[in-house]
Symmetry: D2
Subunit: 312 residues, 4 copies
Amino acid sequence: MFEIRTDLAVETSEDKGKKEELSGIRVEKMQEGDDIVITRVCIETQKAAKSAGKPKGNYITIEAEQMVEEDTGYHREISKVFSQQLKGFLPKDYSNSKVLIVGLGNREVTPDALGPKVIDHLFITRHLIKEYGKYLLEFDKCCSVSGIVPGVMAQTGMETVEIMKGVVEETKPDIVVVIDALAARSIKRLNRTIQITDTGIVPGSGVGNYRNAINREHLGIPVIAIGIPTVVDAATIVADSFSSLMEQLNENGQEDVVEQQDFQEMIRDLISPKLNTMYVTSKDIDEAVNRLSYTISEGLNMTFVPEESHIF
Amino acid sequence: MFEIRTDLAVETSEDKGKKEELSGIRVEKMQEGDDIVITRVCIETQKAAKSAGKPKGNYITIEAEQMVEEDTGYHREISKVFSQQLKGFLPKDYSNSKVLIVGLGNREVTPDALGPKVIDHLFITRHLIKEYGKYLLEFDKCCSVSGIVPGVMAQTGMETVEIMKGVVEETKPDIVVVIDALAARSIKRLNRTIQITDTGIVPGSGVGNYRNAINREHLGIPVIAIGIPTVVDAATIVADSFSSLMEQLNENGQEDVVEQQDFQEMIRDLISPKLNTMYVTSKDIDEAVNRLSYTISEGLNMTFVPEESHIF
Amino acid sequence: MFEIRTDLAVETSEDKGKKEELSGIRVEKMQEGDDIVITRVCIETQKAAKSAGKPKGNYITIEAEQMVEEDTGYHREISKVFSQQLKGFLPKDYSNSKVLIVGLGNREVTPDALGPKVIDHLFITRHLIKEYGKYLLEFDKCCSVSGIVPGVMAQTGMETVEIMKGVVEETKPDIVVVIDALAARSIKRLNRTIQITDTGIVPGSGVGNYRNAINREHLGIPVIAIGIPTVVDAATIVADSFSSLMEQLNENGQEDVVEQQDFQEMIRDLISPKLNTMYVTSKDIDEAVNRLSYTISEGLNMTFVPEESHIF
Amino acid sequence: MFEIRTDLAVETSEDKGKKEELSGIRVEKMQEGDDIVITRVCIETQKAAKSAGKPKGNYITIEAEQMVEEDTGYHREISKVFSQQLKGFLPKDYSNSKVLIVGLGNREVTPDALGPKVIDHLFITRHLIKEYGKYLLEFDKCCSVSGIVPGVMAQTGMETVEIMKGVVEETKPDIVVVIDALAARSIKRLNRTIQITDTGIVPGSGVGNYRNAINREHLGIPVIAIGIPTVVDAATIVADSFSSLMEQLNENGQEDVVEQQDFQEMIRDLISPKLNTMYVTSKDIDEAVNRLSYTISEGLNMTFVPEESHIF
């Protein structure tokens, strides 16, 4: 049908799932407290990956209607749930690992600034551990955390994966964690969903170009990607609205109105090529990205530099 | 029909104009050089204002396909055309006037940062003239320019017009110029159109709330509003696409498919309430707003602090 | 002697106090917990004001060695002490007042960004109370808080007091609170001291120009000024070092080395005029200003929008 | 004597030069136009390098009193002179080279933001050339330019040279150009001096730690470092003032006042350890850094992406 873009595995599965259970994709939903829903999507086969348009691997989505609210206590709650889920992607004995955390995206564009802002609030410990050693400090359960904001290709002229390969080669972390703003299909998920996956990420996309993927294959070490949808593709929102319209017409018994085929061509023509360079975001995106960057960075700090290790 | 939002008078007139010449609205198009189109819209009667959803007054639109390109020379060209058109809104003998320039919008949200960024690049002269006097400096043809970035209501708790009234009362400018990012109806106008009007502006809107208008009526002195569309309302883009679809169905002879009335209700339902808090913008909005803020501020500097007056 | 600049009343009194108790200046010191020292300075007479170079009125200084440390719990402790002391400057029944909070300074200059950053983190309630009314929300003990970042004269061409007069006239607050970065005399106080005073403030100074003071006399309502020293004047640091040197030479019995008079002239010559446009600040000023802006804004939020009033 | 810190070779040579011509250091001064002075310092021997506290190699300084002024034409003049001098450090046939430009420093600290801001204004071409090829575009005389802002160690936990090694290894540039804000000894050089050198740079220092130098030895390709002094060390300004005082006392025939030895110890005591974490900068540093970042980036664009190659 229309090319619906989404970076969320949970949306891919929903879509396809309507008609039949998709073979090769396992979906599990859990409730956490009153209003947090955790969904586990496992894409198990290459064939399923192709059909879903997402790499084989594990995806966890944490959804919470109130995620974007101003309540500090609630944010800490989400940070804890996020930290718990993140630990599921880490080796059991990760507590002394070397972790490189990468903030993807463009700081100058509000909905794309999530990654860089997360890095701003991290406890960075690698240089301290290198200088003072672990034995001097109470760093027993503290990871060596480094962080980088590589910038986007229009600013650097380099693919992010090129920069990452070099930095990984030189500083030898055990694990890479990348943070990025994502595109959702549905506006109801904007700023309300955290996705964690072990499949890595393709910066600035969701479509196609796997040559530039930041993943285990390219970096040689585990890559955990964390994302929050902050935009919807403009073409997606229009195409999706059209689909709903058509469904409703069909339900109303007017299904023969337009041939399915013709209808789609008509729509493809209506969606101007300019729409492909456009995205939809919310009017309060500045506050949402600020708050969510704290939620994520608190969760990362809890995970990699737990409070009992702080003496500095 | 659907509530189509646009801050551009030129789009209002286009829309209505399709079927009949609108009485009380005068539209004039001119070519300027190869690819700059200037449109003058004059809303002459209260009735026309109501029908157009825009206050009575004069609107000039400068459109240029290349407005957003990186070419410095071309930008200066646009700045000159803009300055010429702006002078048409000023009194003949404005060259010693006291001008207060106001950058509306939220600096933290990329497409809304136009106003604040324009203020960043202005020659501010009021304090210099007050301290050194005009006779000492070569300020003969130089306006007394002051500037302010009042912030948005969520940040200040105050209506912008309250702040402006107070500052105007206290500093007694002759003219107020306000700069704001606008919403267009059509994405093809984004970042490519400058509107100048003597009707003032309603911050954060385009709809309804004239109580908060920053205009001559409220400030007691002429208010010239300058805007560039950097967003399209998300609901507008969807509704507009639906209209096009319906028109096409009608042309194809399927006009009786759905009753016009039903169709509209269906669509109103499809456009979720959440869509009303969403907007569409372009992926390169950071670069566009940066460049356009220079284009506008250069034009304002040319107009109010011409180069022959610089000695500082 | 040399013109030593400081915005801190506590430093004025220390200096003069060395030789004699200054008549007309009352100084009181208190310990708060382990490492917080609170000093109350009251300048009681016009004569004392002249001799101290500070307006008549009350000054409270909260000093804490650890103020700049990264510990979140500790920061909250300071915010509480600050809120308590601030309440001493407010009327007993202030809990429903209209408060305008003003962030002075230049956001683009790191040590001067304190005021603007404090405004960023405030709970702004005025527009909510105006729209929804107090009875609907649980705003019983909640002030109507508005905020503004007026900018500095080089950016606006206007004296800050002009802008403030206008905004006060138009929005009718009961109290104005201004936040500003200050200059200390001693680098040991940088980023470690909060001063609260009922005398208002002269932006960008500490010397002389009382015409532009933001105070009760000019605004017609109480003005409480809150400041943290983030810079030391470069000339002050050099002159102060010279004084120490001279004292040491005197103690060593070399007091006749140079005539006091000659020495001072010599030093005045050595301190180049360029030094007067220079200031000293710390290398980690970005982190210090970030953290302290949270400390202050949390204290203001506790004071004016206490948690029991939050339902939004 | 006192440890005077300066990153400018021209200041090292001045200082030592007072008493005798330093063997192994060649200094040449030229006038360029009315008020631009170019000084060439060549440190020729390892012994001279040790005595000067600067690595062996070539240093060019461009000094202009008006460098910081607002005049656009004048800035372009400086950019041209800078570009000419820079070309002297490049191979003759550099016009198709691959150049990686690195913006050192901390964007959040105004005087340290020079490097990051220069990168903001560069023409980045590497990704365009990779995608479209040179033959398609008029890139004949255009370098492949990439850029990066690596951040400072407190933000990343990594030495800048580690990041650079990795990126160079991966993207294989022919030349690295690093931009950094420097520390001068004399405030009269602040914001008025550009230094170009082929010796590379040690981030955040000027003293000692050559293990972290970004230079040819560590990166394996030529490294050209460009810097502008925007700060003076606080201890340096005090120590330097003391030296001047002592000289003046000596000239006045009071040379036996204090034993040279004692005097220095006294001063070392007076310069508090806290002073070592402090720097001096100018009050208008935000405007100065903004303007100078354009001067440098324009010069780099002229050099690596000359206008005749622009078609984009």
